[in-house]
Amino acid sequence: MSTVYIENRPHQMNEKQNLLEGCLSAGMNLPYFCWHPALGSVGACRQCAVKQFKDESDTHGRIVMACMTPAANGTRISIDDPEAVEFRRAVVEGLMLNHPHDCPVCDEGGECHLQDMTVMTGHAYRRATFEKRTFRNQYLGPFVNHEMNRCIQCYRCVRFYREYAGGGDLNAFSLRDIVYFGRERDGVLESEFAGNLVEVCPTGVFTDATHKRHYTRKWDLQFGPSVCIHCGLGCNTSVAERYGTVRRIVNRYHRAINGYFLCDRGRYGYEFVNSSQRIRQPRLRGRLVPAEAALGYLRLLAGGSVMGIGSPRASLESNFALRKLVGPEHFYAGIPSSEASVLALMLKILRTSTARTPTLHEIEEADALFILGEDVSNTAPRMALSARQSTRQQPMQGLERLHIPLWLDHPVREAVQNARGPLFVATPFATRLDGIATRAIRGAPDDLARLGFAVAHAINGSAPSEGVVDGTAEIAEALQRAHRPVVISGASLRNAALVQAAANIARARPGAALALIAPECNSLGLALLDAAPLEGALATHAETLIILENDLYRRAPEEVADKFLSRFHHIVVLDSLENATTRHAELLLPAATFAEGDGTFVSSEGRAQRALQAFVPPEAIAESWRWLGEWKSLDEAVAALAADIPALAAITSASPPASFREAGQKIPREPARYSGRTAKLAQISVHEPKPPDDPDTPLAFSMEGSPNQPPPAVTPFFWSPGWNSYQAINKFQEEIAGPLRGGDSGVRLFEPAARGNGYFPGAPRRFEPKPNEWLIVPIHHIFGSEELSRHAPGVAELAPQPYVALNPRDAEAFGAEVFCLGQRVRVRLAPEAPSGVVGVPADIPPFLGFDLPMRAEIRRAE
């Protein structure tokens, strides 16, 4: 820590940060544009000018940029110095010269960093009378809207898009004072992190195109602190609602997990909540029935012989409620044994391994990565962004000797040049991380597992291995040389040997962290409930079957699912969207989505986090645990769950209980300036209803409540006086880019074991291509492979058409189209793919319900 004097008053600052970060951490208001806590300083916008003094006797001082000056001990600065104030005002006036008169029709208005900074600097009247330059906009895809006139040339967008997220198709085209940020021509932005431009851009150049279709100002939205349900990473999000529909998702900062950024599936997958396919009322044999009647019938059925199928996308409470209703012996996990066995193995490793499960932040700081069998960009996209940052770690290790602070972005990039730290990607098909990988290795899943076993053996001779695999030595050496190596694997290929190999490496290399990616938002939570896989359910019988938020036609082949469902007298289905399974329901109950219900989810990291509802739906929609259980509140459900399952006892502390009060008051879900309270329902009745009670959380469906900062787990949105944009996050952190005040939310269920288990023996045998029998492997897609986000129109637009990926040599035997798994689909050439392996898009119709990978025949389509 260092002592910095601001207006002659001492402040404690982190000497590893710059003055701007120090001032913001100290709670000062200092305007800025080009600096971003995740992107570092470039000193381009000249907005954070302060006056620095030599010593106490210096009255002249000189103007410096706070973002380019280290917070060194004894520094004396003034923010309020008249010259510095005038300098900042003049800079903003210059930036505003060409800014159009758009605020009333701009989607950024009301949460605009440029508005905030302009007000902060006191620039209120335009003196310039000459003409403004204009630009034409580009179509950038279904997610991001472009309005180039509003640009203030801070360069944050290209710095994020190109340097941070590794995108190639957004660039600056410039000549003199004319700078254009866009693509070469109209087209969908290629990066799966393009949605972050909406939050990175300080003004309205890049705005949320899905939000534009049902636009609401930030102050009019009711927020809920939520957890993303579109993959297993558990990124924190804020869900925003108005007039009973979800309007947008914004990032909810969590230092250890998502930091400042989300992936586009997480940001834009929300529209399924507003889908016309939503189930909104209970239905008995196709007819709408009141909730009480449906509940009565459910109780009647539950009294008889009953069996339940849980779901990896339902919350812990919902799965537990079903398990309790039908009895643990009649509760099945609802995933095929191929997946369940890998998840059980992952759980065993999490419990017994000496390796730490890294947070995404720790992956960002890793200096060597080995990704084994997981296409991270598609199965856990936010982790790919972290992996990208990790490749800078090793080249940056020498910078301290050069006296370059890490926040000084351009000198760091000059010093690093194109050097990249070790990143090894071993997958069957090409991934989007290949471009920055030290080496990308292609092979059949078993061959990749053999590589993993061989690497473990090369690091530590006592680890088992069979034979030499190409690339082993290089990977082993890199992992050994690194200070903080991380091995990443997961369940997406449903190959236990891959996970075992990753665990062996983590065991062979002490200090290595091991990240195992679970396929869905609560896969790990379901595994913790220790239920038998779907095959167990197929073999048994009962009068009544209760299916919890699970489309069996995605878990088993159509004919198997048909036959299975036809065996029951009564089928009860709880779900949020119509699907193939809900059509078989005798009793269909409307389940709440993450936006309307509360529940706890366990992420791949083993962190239990609670997603809390944003609004109360007008219809009979309720959480599945409320339909199935007898509990009156979430706390009761959590307490029952914690008491019954010791492994989950810690989840009670995942978020504060409903009785929690901040300064004696509930926490408001609505910003203080929420409008239209006395008019929004006046068309129905002029007598305003009382806002709904919330018995489950310490939050209120109101603008009234404590103005203090709530604990991070129940912070619905970020706002601070004068800071209306997302940059208000500065005011909620312990220090800039540090954890939120109150610490990282959620509770980690697993910490490294002290002693650990032994090595997993025996690598699998080498994969041998067989004539006329192909190994069909799933290829995951960020847009399309996930069940719920597919119902969002933008995601559906970007989802791929069905295809079969083949090595060009193998494809020679076939034409442009083939029959594969009973479907006629076109062939897509995958030059690097291993011979004898065929890729099909995972969980994209018509490839639903197949237990991939599997061996099957493909035929030429005539």
């Binding site: 008169h101 009333p104 204009t134 100002r217 006395t678 008019a679 929004k680 006046a682």
Partner: protein, 171 residues
């Protein structure tokens, strides 16, 4: 005694003063043009809806009696899908008019809004929208704003240069 006589005399004098009672409703009182009465939504000189659904009136409203939802036509021109004022809550403070960046929402010199049913005091857009520009005849927000809408391309607004041809930026 003297005071009572003076009072009688004063009352007597009042018989010859000018009458202030207005025979309302037969006789309408004078209301200044800026009088804050019934709220209307105006149209710009071209006849298009002036309201751009920016939500500023709603947020300025101290009793929160304005609710609306923004939408856009195919050309990108923004307008309110619905616009509702609950006049049973309105205090006619005029903050909405003051906040309006397009002169769309205006208070008018009309107070004759009494209803027997409170529900009838909820006005929708069709009740609010008038056919003229109201108090501010010349102004058209879209001619000043930089966004492109039907009939106005980029660079055609006031004080704008023609759009930059991106080919001039290429090396």
């Amino acid at each position: 005694m003297l005071s009572a006589l003076r009072t009688l005399w004063n009352v007597f004098l009042h018989m010859f003063r000018k009458r202030v009672t207005v025979q309302y409703p037969e006789q309408k009182p004078y209301l200044a043009p800026r009088w804050r009465g019934r709220i209307i939504l105006s149209r710009d000189p071209d006849g298009g809806e002036r309201c751009v659904a920016c939500y500023l009136c709603a947020v300025a409203c101290p009793v929160d009696c304005i609710a609306l939802q923004a939408t856009e036509d195919q050309t990108g021109r923004r307008y309110p899908e619905f616009f509702r004022i609950n006049f049973s809550r309105c205090i006619f403070c005029g903050y909405c008019e003051e906040a309006c960046p397009t002169y769309a929402i205006q208070l008018t010199p009309d107070f004759e809004m009494a209803e027997y049913e409170r529900q009838n005091l909820v006005y929708e857009k069709e009740d609010l929208l008038i056919d003229g520009p109201g108090k501010y005849p010349g102004y058209n927000f879209w001619r000043v704003a930089g966004v492109k809408i039907g009939g106005k391309d980029k660079g055609e607004a006031q004080n704008e240069t023609a759009p930059v041809d991106l080919h001039t930026l290429l090396p």
